[in-house]
């Protein structure tokens, strides 16, 4: 199985290969080639894929993979098949995930046909604290108590979150 990061690397490396194969076929058929796809990981997956955060917190996740995908439907289909092989399911509601103002995206993998970024951990935590406090209260408490995120509390409050949810 390996760590989340290792599993994701397997998935995206295989997706990269698959896109190369598809593009090879399309080239011989005279069709337009797919340009480099972009994936932005959000939510729990983004935290579990981050080695520093993963070493700091005890994290659990369902099989959901939250991500914003910038790819053709045909490639998305290939991507979801690869996810299922690793026991994961793409969350079609990922586009509904709120990304707080000031979020930054950090590069995770950069293959020839696939670029993968993750939302910065503090922004992922702010999003969880504001939009799904009940489901994430233990994690937010742990993050606040860790003192690793100096602006976490301010950003939660500035975005309408309530600290009472975690006390």
């Amino acid at each position: 199985m390996g760590t989340t990061r290792q599993r994701l690397e397997r998935i995206f490396r295989d997706l990269d290969k698959r896109i190369a194969e598809i593009n090879f076929e399309r080239r011989t058929e005279g069709l337009r080639l797919f340009s480099k796809t972009k994936v932005r990981l959000l939510g729990q997956t983004s935290l579990m894929a981050n080695d520093r955060i993963s070493a700091m917190f005890s994290l659990a996740q369902t099989a959901d993979l939250d991500a914003v995908l910038k790819m053709d439907d045909l490639l998305k289909n290939e991507f979801t098949k690869l996810l299922i092989r690793e026991g994961l399911v793409y969350d079609e509601d990922s586009y509904l995930i709120w990304i707080p103002h000031g979020a930054k995206f950090e590069r995770l993998f950069d293959f020839e046909n696939v670029g993968v970024e993750t939302i910065d951990p503090e922004s992922a935590l702010v999003s969880k604290a504001v939009k799904a406090p009940e489901k994430n209260k233990q994690l937010i408490r742990e993050a606040i108590a860790s003192d690793e995120f100096p602006t976490l509390v301010d950003r939660i409050l500035a975005n309408g979150g309530k600290l009472e949810n975690f006390a």
Partner: protein, 174 residues
Amino acid sequence: MLLKEIRAKAKEDEKKRRDRRFLDTMGFLVAKGFLQTNFDVLWAPNKRVQIDDAIWAGKNVEPRILEVLPAAVLRLGRHFDLDPERHGDLARVVARLRRGEEQGDAFYGMPYDKMKQWVELPLRDRRVKPLTKKKVVKTFRLDPAAVKCLKNLANDKQCTETEALERLLLGNTR
């Protein structure tokens, strides 16, 4: 003041993560593939999980347990001690999931549609089929001529009689 309370609760959470009820429940759900963790959990795929323990762990340590619990109970019922009288809310959600209902009540704050998606999750043990792929036993009293015809058809197609019947009904799309 609030921050002080949050820090104190975070310390309590740390203790709760070592609680047997949490570890037992996670050991089972992770082994089956309903949950994944970044920390070591002793896999317990054959465990019989106490529903009270799972609910305690979901409410006090990891809320995602509550999200997957109804689907886990539905699909792996023999591993849980579900008692409809004591666990009425859970039993009702499981019954709705079994009937394939589109909408239902939340379970400890978990929306029904979030819980519903795990009914179809492919599990590590490929023998455990998603609900919509589970075979259903049906009994028919057929005319002997029809039985002979079905047998011949299965021979011709080199498949079982059930597969021959399914192909006739569903077309050769499978």
